[in-house]
């Protein structure tokens, strides 16, 4: 393939279909915000926006892995809540305990992901049910352990990633959250371009064909669940750092994450979608909430507007798929898995 059509190919792959829709939506929302309040697009405000959005983007990336493999993870909200409460209780304000507790949280996240994955793949329980059950278990177990309300306190060191940053001119503060976010996005893209990523998409697309091709479907899916739980753990670190510990932390985040991922063009059922798309969906959703605030939209109307926009965005993306596409030239051999897999 010559370089020019390769660039065009890359661009078209990244920006067609759902991914394109979501970035267009993001652009529209930002434009409206700019008209309402020009100061929002000043660097300090943008940094604050990205700091707020970072946890949701991480959750969306994790959810992307699971949905791309053909499953669903409803337990991430409860996991975030559980991790924050666990951290608070175990750290109890002692700075020295921060790092050991962080490692423990990561281990716990991996464990939860493993359980989700193995129950779904080996016990063959539908992931909706598995993760629903896990959501209930985490919710109840954590409250049972703390007697109903979170106890302890997070250390300042723990709160740094979510709340702090590097003080700089121009942007006032470059949040650690943003750096962590960029780091994970890059890692996720690299992962999806590796052979694991290809097998993940292939599994979501048609797991029987994938297993005939030698893919260990149960390993791939379990890994996806583990990735989702690990991302949720990092999101918990950011959220706990940002806002401290409240009793309701994490509730409802799973629906936000799934909404973000679907907005980003990832198809529920698997086999399509990009990390960039999922990230775009999360940013668009967060921007939408910001827009509501800037417009001073009455609080009670916001769910309705959110619902309409979500349906409209997904309907629009679905329309694009329905339109007959111009026939593609037969893909070259070495590129065919990526082309069919990543194109929305």
């Amino acid at each position: 393939m010559n370089p020019r059509s390769r660039t065009a190919d890359v661009l078209s792959r990244v920006f067609t279909g759902g991914t394109g829709t979501v970035y267009a939506l993001l652009l529209i929302i930002f434009t409206v915000i700019f008209f309402v309040n020009a100061s929002f697009l000043e660097p300090p405000s943008l940094m604050a926006f990205l700091k707020n959005a970072a946890p949701l983007v991480l959750l969306a990336i994790g959810q992307y892995f699971v949905i791309a493999s053909g499953e669903l993870d409803l337990s991430v909200g409860s996991l975030v809540g559980a991790q924050v409460v666990i951290a608070a209780r175990l750290i109890d304000g002692e700075e020295s305990r921060t790092v050991p507790v962080l490692l423990l949280m990561l281990a716990f996240g991996v464990l939860v992901g493993l359980v989700n994955g193995l129950v779904t793949t080996l016990l063959k329980v539908q992931s909706l049910i598995t993760t629903l059950g896990m959501m209930l278990v985490l919710f109840g177990a954590v409250r049972f352990w703390t007697g109903g309300a979170p106890t302890g306190a997070l250390s300042d060191a723990f709160r740094q990633p979510g709340r702090g940053g590097i003080d700089m001119p121009v942007v006032r503060q470059l949040p650690w959250a943003l750096l962590i976010l960029i780091g994970f996005v890059v890692l996720a893209i690299v992962l999806m371009r590796s052979s694991f990523g290809k097998t993940l998409i292939a599994t979501g697309d048609n797991d029987r064909a994938a297993s005939f091709s030698g893919v260990r479907v149960w390993q791939v899916r379990t890994t996806a669940f583990v990735l989702s739980s690990v991302m949720a753990t990092f999101a918990a670190i950011l959220i706990g750092g940002f806002a401290g510990v409240t009793a309701q932390v994490g509730q409802g985040l799973e629906f936000s994450a799934i909404t973000a991922v679907v907005l980003g063009g990832v198809v529920l059922g698997g086999g399509r979608g990009t990390v960039i798309g999922a990230m775009g969906g999360a940013l668009a959703l967060q921007a939408l909430f910001t827009l509501f605030n800037q417009l001073a939209l009455p609080s009670t109307l916001r769910p309705s507007v959110q619902g309409v926009i979500i349906i409209a965005a997904v309907a629009y993306a679905a329309r694009e798929h329905a339109r007959p596409r111009p026939a593609k030239p037969p893909p070259k051999a070495e590129q065919s898995p990526r082309t069919t897999a990543i194109t929305n």
């Binding site: 539908q126 049910i129 029987r208 059922g269 349906i311 997904v314 596409r325």
Partner: protein, 363 residues
């Protein structure tokens, strides 16, 4: 081809078979016995009038919602807006009846109309706009939530005492609401097995492409399923109004939608659609109700209840899913973006985007 168009009782096999529905009731029986023993050890009687009434009352509300959810799930769809529909219809009922016994029929009709409208919109968004059901019904739920929050700032309306009977009267130890729920279940079972649209729901859920090519108007079937689902949720709203004597917007906070899906799956209906039925769903609802009652009598810590519930739901489905897989024939699917021939992959609903060149939905 005929493999996909199948009810939960395949022809040609002996009519008595330990199918998924029977398995649910065996599990229910086991649970009741185990629960009865556990409770007796505590010195209480699970089968006292009070406890039986408690169990059955718990089951009637969820039962209405779960029966409706069955229709949606059979068509490989789902409805996450049912909680909000219940809240909305309870308010519609209470404000329409407004304390006047003469207006009870009007209230019931209003509820069914409003619920039907919501279901219609859900179905159209899924079938015509081809938004996947998770998002479509989640979005609809949010829209209703915004309406409720804006229009109603708390409980409203007044339900005449004649209608409150629906929520409180008992026939022996069977609450009237449970009896109505069971009657609705029977009606639903007859509908699914006898009527053409009902039969088609299994087809659409089994393989929407094949169904469409067989001449089934898949869009209409899907819309019908959602209308029925929402109307059942509307009846649940009527029950809430009867029990509370007012309509209550906050009723939507109780996550009935996830409970109803759990009940349907516990009852042996596949999330992938095409198999299952209302009989199993009622069993699933009863299982959850017995569990909750036993926990309540034994004064299990409310948070530990959640843990147990989660584990039991997953364990129960693990037992069913394994059995169904062994018996189920492999289904060859057209590329529909979904998983393979087993029940693991969750949802690739009929409205999901399909590859270039194909069109799904109604003709």
């Amino acid at each position: 081809m005929s493999q996909s168009v199948r009810t939960s009782r395949p022809t040609g096999t002996p009519s008595w078979r330990l199918g998924p529905t029977e398995l649910v009731y065996v599990a229910l029986l086991g649970l009741v016995l185990a629960g009865g023993v556990l409770v007796a050890v505590q010195g209480q009687n699970l089968f006292s009038t009070a406890n039986l009434v408690d169990m059955l009352t718990r089951s009637s509300l969820l039962g209405f919602i779960a029966i409706g959810q069955t229709f949606a799930i059979l068509c490989r769809s789902m409805d996450l807006s049912v909680g909000y529909v219940v809240a909305l219809t309870s308010l519609v009922a209470a404000t329409t009846m407004d304390g006047d016994p003469g207006r009870i029929p009007l209230g019931i009709v209003a509820v069914l109309l409003v619920a039907g409208a919501v279901g219609l919109v859900n179905g159209l968004v899924i079938a015509v706009l081809r938004v996947n059901p998770f998002i479509a019904t989640l979005g609809m739920g949010l829209i209703i939530k915004g309406y409720l929050d804006t229009q109603y700032q708390g409980p409203a309306g007044r339900v005449p005492s004649e209608f409150q009977q629906f929520g409180y009267t008992r026939i022996g130890f069977v609450p009237l609401s449970t009896a109505v729920m069971l009657a609705l279940a029977v009606a639903g079972i007859i509908y699914l097995r006898r009527s053409r649209t009902g039969y088609h729901m299994f087809a659409v859920g089994g393989n929407v492409e094949v169904a469409r090519m067989s001449g089934i108007r898949t869009g209409r079937v899907l819309v019908t399923a959602h209308v029925l689902c929402a109307m059942c949720a509307g009846i649940a709203g009527l029950l809430i109004a009867a029990r509370f004597s007012v309509g209550d917007p906050r009723v939507a906070d109780n996550l009935y939608e996830l409970d109803s899906i759990a009940a349907v799956v516990l009852g042996g209906t596949l999330l992938l659609g095409g198999r299952g039925g209302i009989g199993g769903t009622v069993g699933g609802v009863l299982i959850l109700a017995v569990l909750d009652t036993v926990f309540n009598i034994m004064q299990v810590d409310p948070f530990f209840k959640d843990v147990l519930r989660g584990v039991i739901i997953v364990a129960a489905v693990a037992i069913y899913a394994r059995r169904q897989l062994d018996r189920q024939a492999r289904r060859i699917r057209f590329d529909d973006g979904g998983g393979g021939g087993d029940s693991r992959a969750d949802k690739s609903p009929p409205g999901a985007p399909v590859r270039a060149g194909e069109r799904g939905g109604d003709r």
